[in-house]
């Protein structure tokens, strides 16, 4: 990963966070599907990133979102969780010819069969934790399940679209 690529990455992370807190904060489709684009920070982090660094990064990104959502720790918890379990998911989903030093997480290099399960499982874990903690009430169990399902679906669509329109 070169310096130029790194700067680009940092900017896209910041952009994802800004879009999250300013545009997506009060948006939801039918009160069911919510887009949490800030998971981009963890999902698209470079493969060779230091694990501790990623966990810390996730915590601060999550805490920033918590600030604006007025939720206090909720998003930080969910994001740190997927940041930590990312390496396990990456191990399970190792592509046929393995990862090499220059591998990047994108649709072109990793193919559909890798990219969809990867993003899907990351979003599913994140949304499950987020919605169940947020509801904090078992009577809302079914509703939370629906929210998780539709939000994950929406997230998958958006992440695939982002890949299709990405330049490099």
């Amino acid at each position: 990963m070169n310096a130029k690529g790194n700067i680009k990455l940092v900017f896209s992370f910041l952009l994802a966070l800004l879009i999250q807190v300013f545009l997506l904060r009060d948006m939801g489709i039918g009160g069911m599907a919510f887009l949490f684009i800030y998971t981009y920070v963890v999902i698209k982090a470079p493969l060779d990133i230091n694990k501790s660094l990623l966990v810390i990064l996730a915590f601060f990104a999550g805490w920033l979102v918590d600030w604006f959502y007025d939720t206090h720790g909720l998003h930080a918890f969910a994001l740190v969780l997927i940041a930590f379990f990312r390496s396990f998911i990456l191990n399970v989903l190792t592509p046929a010819n393995g990862y090499d030093d220059r591998s990047k997480i994108n649709l072109k290099e990793m193919t559909w069969l890798w990219y969809l399960p990867y993003v899907g499982s990351m979003l599913l874990i994140h949304h499950s934790v987020l919605f169940f903690l947020e509801a904090s009430d078992w009577s809302l169990f079914g509703l939370s399940l629906l929210k998780i399902f539709f939000s994950t679906l929406l997230g998958l669509v958006v992440f695939v679209l982002l890949e299709l329109f990405a330049k490099d």
Partner: protein
């Protein structure tokens, strides 16, 4: 000792993970209403500022709607004033005179919403009036159309309001037509609809009935509009009506609210506390 250190260094990612997760969990579960307001006012003033600016831009784009709403409200108030003047002349069934204190029991203050959510399961609003404007926890918050919620904590210049769109908030309500009592509670989604509970199936309810706050309510004044019955069914246990109420207040476009101060609430609470309790 050396081995222990090596182990710690090797597992630093995991240890860091556990510490951060525990910290987040602690933050989530120790976060009560009081901290909510304090956090919002000190640590979070930057976020509040920015969100407030964005809110003011949104308000600007909605000036037309806001104006229209205000003029409608003006008209309604004029009407009410006229009715009131008339009723004073014609008189009621019984010679009832309210003392001046009781007649002026409720006082309204307008406030602007700084931050609000409608998409969570527990929704709150933050308004720009605090203790320095005479706000207290427990005061009712209404919009020009219907109920909004109740103040749960105040700082000097801001107050936190628990919205009706909150699964842990319920409000005593009645059917305007025949006075049947019940309470309303939000089901956790759709910011337009709440459920009315505890209305026995033997009571008469029809689609289109207006629901208002009941008289037995220490927060809201009686007869504040809530919504209309939109859907009618029977609860699973077969004993109660399953009533879906379409709220009058449109939370998605809400920008200004009124806080109602009940000047006699202290006396009312004191009196109600003096009821002898059976042991």
């Amino acid at each position: 000792m050396n081995q222990l250190l090596q182990f710690l260094v090797r597992q630093r990612g995991f240890i860091l993970f556990v510490i951060l997760e525990l910290f987040s969990l602690w933050a989530i579960f120790t976060y009560n209403d009081y901290q909510h307001t304090i956090y919002f006012n000190t640590n979070n003033s930057i976020a509040a500022n920015i969100l407030g600016k964005i809110e003011s831009v949104k308000t600007y784009h909605q000036l037309l709607d806001v104006n229209e709403e205000l003029s409608k409200e003006n008209a309604r108030l004029h009407n009410e004033l006229l009715q009131l003047k008339n009723s004073k002349v014609s008189g009621g069934d019984l010679p009832y005179y309210a003392s001046r204190e009781v007649a002026n029991q409720f006082q309204m203050t307008a406030a602007k919403i700084i931050v609000q959510s409608t998409q969570g399961s527990q929704n709150y609003l933050t308004i720009d009036k605090g203790t320095s404007d005479g706000m207290h926890p427990g005061m009712a918050v209404v919009s020009s159309k219907g109920i909004v919620g109740k103040i749960i904590s105040c700082s000097e210049h801001l107050s936190l309001v628990i919205s009706v769109l909150n699964t842990i908030n319920s409000v005593s309500a009645k059917i305007k037509k025949n006075g049947e009592l019940g309470f309303i509670k939000w089901g956790g989604w759709q910011p337009e609809v709440v459920d009315m509970m505890d209305v026995s199936k033997y009571k008469k309810v029809a689609k289109g009935d207006t629901i208002v706050t009941s008289d037995f309510n220490s927060v809201f004044p009686p007869n504040v509009p809530i919504g209309v019955v939109a859907k009618l069914g029977l609860k699973e246990d077969g004993n109660f009506h399953d009533i879906k109420v379409l709220l009058f207040t449109k939370f998605n476009t809400l920008r200004y609210v009124y806080v109602i101060k009940n000047k006699l609430i202290g006396q009312q609470i004191k009196l109600e506390e003096s009821i002898p309790k059976s042991e």
